[in-house]
């Protein structure tokens, strides 16, 4: 360290000390001015510089050490003595070692003692926070919490903030002390375990480079980090195991300080830490890991099979993806290992062996050493998944919301990688997979809790033409990575918003309400059409038309139930085609409804009035068989149009809260839908015939417009219809969800065309009726009173 820097550091510490002593305030007040974290950081960095100066400037090194010790005594010692005397003792012992090594110029021992002091300060702070949180004292917890370390962040991982948010929750009264304590422990223990692992890796590297002082420092750091984790270790493995583990870490440090070979000691530490996870996984994290494990593992054979053909790797990118998913599954498995081993030790070791085998197969395919048949990888994976499903408790396998988002993120990463490699076909496939996970998972709840996010996600995944163009559109255009990443950024923030929102909405009652609303909303259009039509068929000669409607409806219900009964895996595989399936069935439904509307005006408004008069002739003209088929198709498509998607959504909710809750919700929704149907039917039936016909016509026309709008939207989502936004017009989300109104020219134009068709059909019917009336006058003047009705408001 340069002389100027060293002087500067000493001066800073001295000033800090003078400030503290002069204030003469109690420690709590001083802590407000100079935080524990600030004092500890000054101390830590001063000791690093004291070590650097040890050989070249012993006097400067000694003054830095003295100033650091004084700072400790003035700022940190009182609090540490009170909260964690054992850590305070370790700090004092560390300073004694520092003085010894400073006097002898022993940089190796100095480095180890420095690490001992630092980790003892971290341990002391951790205990202080624990004690304060448990006592419901957020102010004290907050004053000590910043004296902590964080996981070393990379470009892809961020520091955990659970402890901070836990203490904040305690302060705001939104968390009880016990809840805040869980968050604090989970965050800090996870952090220190990560630092321990990282330190052991660095130690291996320092050992390889033969850096004696670094070896000693890192070994002492490992010992210190483990001291923080010790209570968790003892809790899981018992006191004896803890003593043995502590002994191995002591040996490691002693060997490092002595400059001895570290191989045996490092191996001992590795054995002691194998499978140990200090941070208790919260129920949500447990569920998330279980979801990740099963989902990622399930995707390994899918990607592998795409990458291998005829015994050789044909698409290396797919094998890379299989590797990524395998590594994700393995990481989740490692996190759950101890917990699952407590449930079924034999079973979990069998799974570990299977995973090892799959890992070798995937790895060998990646390196080209050997290429296993996809069927072998698939069979082994399915076996492992089945075994895991049997071992993992059922409630951990429910509510995989967070893991769904993880998988979506991983799929989108793959999409980007594929674009980077110029493989747009692969990128599109990854995009579709990601969307399928969204649709079979979180989308169901988004529909109810955040429809605005659902629509934005849909646009960003598909062909949206907003500021950030949809990914499907961009991939189709062969857009550059930058543009795709820009959309991805927006998509990520929407996914994050969705995840945050849904994290608070998974209570069983919320899921039940979700299921009910989904069924009600999806069923509303169908029931309005069916009830109106059936209500209108109340004359004896048209009642028989109700039958095909009932048949079609019944068939659709059977098809929907069959869809429900399909294995979830099959549904997930089909989910990537979900939007297209909906588009096709919707097109058929709209086509049939147009026909029926036309028929309705021509037949019911006009022909029915001629029923007694020209019955035989009418049957010939209207084509009875076609009419029956049309009604049957209408019954079927009206219900099944939304059936597939509804089932997908409900299946997703089953994962959240179980079959019982979802079926109860679906039954409530169905009951509400039927009630609407019965009310519509009853009112229709009570109305005088002519008014009933008017109401039916209006209702069917309205539903037709909604269906046309929604179908146009689905077609635009999947890119089968171009999108031209109506500049300056924004509509509320509900206008789209419930009325099929979207601010796009195509949708509005098609709805207008449908309206023209309906109204035109009516006027055509009217015109034909007039012509018929004239003809009738000429043929039979006695029937004139039936043909001179001025309007539909007049009773017959």
């Amino acid at each position: 360290m340069s002389g100027s820097m060293l002087k500067c550091q000493t001066l800073a510490l001295a000033l800090l000390l003078v400030l503290l002593i002069d204030i003469g305030q109690p420690i709590a007040v001083m802590a407000a001015a100079i935080t524990a974290a600030g004092a500890a950081e000054s101390l830590r960095s001063a000791l690093v510089q004291a070590q650097l100066a040890l050989a070249t400037d012993p006097a400067g090194s000694a003054s830095l050490l003295a100033a650091a010790e004084a700072t400790y005594q003035a700022t940190l010692a009182p609090g540490l003595d009170a909260f964690d005397p054992a850590s305070a003792e370790r700090v004092q012992a560390g300073f004694a070692l520092l003085h010894q090594s400073q006097a002898s110029g022993d940089e190796v021992a100095f480095a180890a003692a420095r690490a001992q002091i630092w980790t003892a300060l971290l341990a002391g702070s951790y205990h202080a926070v624990e004690v304060a949180v448990a006592a419901g004292d957020p102010a004290t917890a907050q004053s000590w919490l910043p004296l902590r370390e964080f996981r070393t962040q990379t470009r892809f991982s961020r520091a955990n903030a659970d402890a901070t948010l836990g203490v904040m929750g305690l302060r705001n009264g939104t968390l009880a002390p016990a809840e805040a304590l869980v968050a604090v422990r989970a965050d800090l223990l996870d952090t220190y375990q990560a630092r321990l692992q990282e330190t052991l890796r660095d130690l291996e590297a320092a050992d390889g480079h033969n850096f004696p002082a670094r070896r000693a420092e890192l070994a002492a750091l490992a010992e210190g980090y483990f001291a923080i984790l010790a209570p968790a270790y003892a809790g899981q493995r018992g006191g004896e195991a803890l003593l043995a583990a502590q002994a191995t870490l002591r040996e490691l440090r002693a060997a490092a300080v002595a400059g001895a070979d570290l191989t045996a000691a490092r191996a001992g530490v590795e054995v002691a830490l194998a499978g140990f996870r200090a941070a208790p996984l919260s129920p949500a994290e447990r569920t998330r890991r279980a979801g990740q494990l099963l989902r990622y593992l399930g995707l390994v054979p899918v990607e592998y099979a795409r990458g291998v053909s005829d015994g050789r790797v044909t698409r290396p990118l797919e094998i890379q993806e299989a590797t990524t998913f395998f590594e994700g599954a393995q990481a989740a498995f490692a996190d759950l290992y101890d917990l699952l081993a407590a449930i079924d030790p034999t079973g979990i070791n069998e799974v570990a062996a299977m995973l090892k085998e799959i890992g070798v197969q995937v790895h060998h395919a990646g390196t080209g050493e050997a290429v296993a048949e996809p069927s072998i990888v698939k069979a082994r994976t399915e076996q492992a998944v089945a075994r895991l499903q049997a071992i993992i408790p059922a409630d951990w396998q429910m509510g995989g919301g967070a893991s769904d988002f993880d998988v979506i993120g991983a799929m989108l990463d793959q999409m980007e990688n594929a674009v980077r490699a110029g493989e747009y076909g692969l990128a599109e496939s990854a995009r579709l997979e990601a969307y399928a996970v969204l649709e079979t998972g979180p989308e169901a709840r988004l529909m109810v809790f955040a429809p605005q996010i659902k629509q934005q996600l849909e646009d960003l995944f598909w062909n949206g033409q907003g500021a950030a163009k949809g990914l499907a559109y961009l991939l189709k255009q062969g857009a550059g990575l930058g543009e795709i990443q820009a959309t991805r950024t927006v998509l990520d923030s929407q996914l994050q918003a969705a995840q945050t929102l849904l994290a608070t909405a998974s209570a069983p009652l919320a899921v039940l309400a979700n299921a009910a609303l989904i069924v009600f909303r999806e069923g509303l259009e169908a029931v309005v059409i069916l009830a109106s039509l059936m209500g209108s068929m109340k004359l004896s000669d048209s009642r028989h038309y109700r039958k095909p409607l009932w048949w079609g409806t019944g068939l659709a219900f059977v098809a929907t139930v069959c869809t429900w009964l399909l294995a979830r895996g099959v549904l997930a595989a089909l989910a990537r085609y979900g939007e297209k399936l909906e588009a096709i069935v919707s097109l058929i439904a709209v086509g049939v409804l147009l026909l029926i509307t036309n028929w309705f005006f021509h037949k019911v408004y006009w022909t029915d009035w001629l029923a007694n008069f020209h019955a035989a002739k009418r049957r010939l003209l209207s084509g009875e068989a076609g009419l029956v088929a049309g009604l049957l198709a209408l019954g079927f498509t009206s219900v099944y149009r939304e059936g597939f998607e509804t089932v997908l959504f409900l299946q997703a909710l089953v994962l959240e809260a179980g079959v019982g809750t979802v079926l109860a919700g679906a039954a409530s929704g169905l009951a509400a839908t039927i009630l609407v149907g019965v009310i519509t039917f009853k009112i229709q039936a009570r109305l005088p015939y002519k008014k009933m016909l008017v109401v039916t016509g209006v209702l069917i026309g309205a539903v037709l417009l909604i269906m046309v709008g929604n179908t146009a939207h689905v077609l635009q989502v999947i890119g089968w219809l171009p999108i031209h936004l109506i500049a300056g017009v924004t509509l509320p989300i509900w206008a789209g969800t419930w009325l099929g109104l979207y601010p796009v020219w195509e949708g509005i134009a098609l709805q207008a065309a449908a309206a023209v068709f309906v109204i035109g059909s009516y006027f055509l019917a009217e015109r034909q009726r007039s012509q018929a009336r004239e003809r009738s006058h000429r043929l039979s003047p006695n029937h004139s009173e039936r043909w001179t009705l001025p309007n539909f408001g007049k009773e017959v």
Partner: protein, 356 residues
């Protein structure tokens, strides 16, 4: 009221009732901080960078013309035009040495903002496809003679190793050139492959123009600023690692292609300066959570910069750091940086600002 009207109104009421959203929409992420100064800083730096990459391209084009005139016979080129060649290569190196720090001074922003990060990969951070396929640059370099260098590595690296001769494939090792006329062919005195230099310099200038456009279109958000700080601050160990392996520490044993012209310590300081600019933009927001913490983070950033500057000053003063010392310094910088980034991440969480 006639019955049919009742019916119609009932249905309408049903639809309207059903249309009410189940929950109010979440608040849109609003920007509570004026990040205009950050954008102005970025645009100023990128403008200066454009001037220098254009100068580099001009010098590279001049060198290429001379080589073309000599029918790419570099012995003839050096024999006939040594003065012109020396002058052009000196100009190219000067432009590169001016351009590289300018980029580093904005790298904290470019690499940390998700919408701009691709340019960092292309210009300064991406590996070659051969070295590290997972982190390779996303482009191939087509040379004027029709050769294609697939994923050759980042463009500052390509031009640096071409100009200073740290990658044999991009230079003409057969010709010993004494560019400064001191009677010896010292480190960096090589004749570059004119095709590689021309294509590399042109691509560098092209992508810098692309970056300028992207930067002009960039609407900085709080999430961008916090993400950049959290992502870029803790990358100290990467930079110290490349410093440790560079010729500034490892001397002639170094086999590193890049970071030979300018010490990585200078780059680290430049990056930290860009992070200070970013932090200044969000500090008022941080202060709304905890004014003391806001000052503390600022102080820690300043201290980190001072720490690196001190090591750099010693290096410039002729000190040769031992590898273990360099390792300790890197670990210390990383420790400080991780703590700063961790603190910023805590504030972001409390402000509910998403980190990409």
């Amino acid at each position: 009221m006639p019955m049919w009207k009742h019916t119609f109104l009932l249905c309408l009421a049903l639809l309207v009732t059903a249309c009410a959203p189940a929950t109010p929409p979440p608040p849109a992420p609003a920007t509570r901080t004026d990040l205009g100064a950050v954008k102005s800083y970025l645009l100023t730096k990128v403008g200066q960078l454009q001037t220098n990459t254009a100068a580099l391209q001009a010098a590279a084009d001049g060198y290429y013309s001379l080589a073309q005139d000599a029918d790419f016979d570099y012995r003839v080129l050096w024999a006939d035009h040594s003065a012109d060649v020396s002058q052009l290569l000196a100009a190219a190196k000067a432009a590169w040495i001016a351009a590289s720090p300018l980029y580093e001074q904005m790298e904290g922003i470019v690499a940390g903002v998700p919408g701009l990060a691709e340019y960092d990969l292309i210009l300064d951070a991406g590996a070659s496809g051969e070295e590290d396929p997972d982190n390779a640059v996303p482009f191939d370099l087509t040379l004027p003679d029709g050769r294609v260098l697939p994923k050759p590595g980042n463009l500052f690296g390509v031009t640096e190793s071409t100009l200073w001769g740290t990658f044999a494939g991009f230079t003409i090792p057969a010709v010993q050139a004494d560019l400064d006329g001191n009677g010896a062919s010292d480190f960096g005195e090589v004749l570059p492959d004119a095709n590689v230099l021309k294509a590399g310099a042109a691509a560098l200038d092209d992508y810098v123009h692309g970056l300028a456009e992207a930067a002009a279109a960039w609407q900085p958000t709080e999430s961008d600023a916090f993400t950049a700080l959290v992502v870029m601050t803790p990358t100290m160990s990467e930079y110290f690692s490349s410093w440790k392996n560079s010729r500034f520490v490892a001397g002639e044993e170094s086999t590193q292609r890049d970071f030979v012209a300018i010490s990585r310590l200078a780059d680290i300081q430049d990056i930290l300066v860009s992070l200070q600019v970013l932090y200044a933009g969000v500090k008022p927001l941080v202060a709304t959570v905890d004014a003391g913490q806001a000052d503390d983070i600022e102080q820690r950033l300043d201290d980190l910069l001072l720490f690196v500057a001190d090591v750099y000053t010693q290096e410039q003063g002729g000190k040769r750091f031992a590898p273990e010392e360099a390792d300790l310094l890197g670990a210390e910088a990383q420790q400080r940086a991780t703590t700063i980034a961790g603190q910023i991440a805590q504030v972001a969480a409390q402000l509910n600002i998403p980190l990409e």
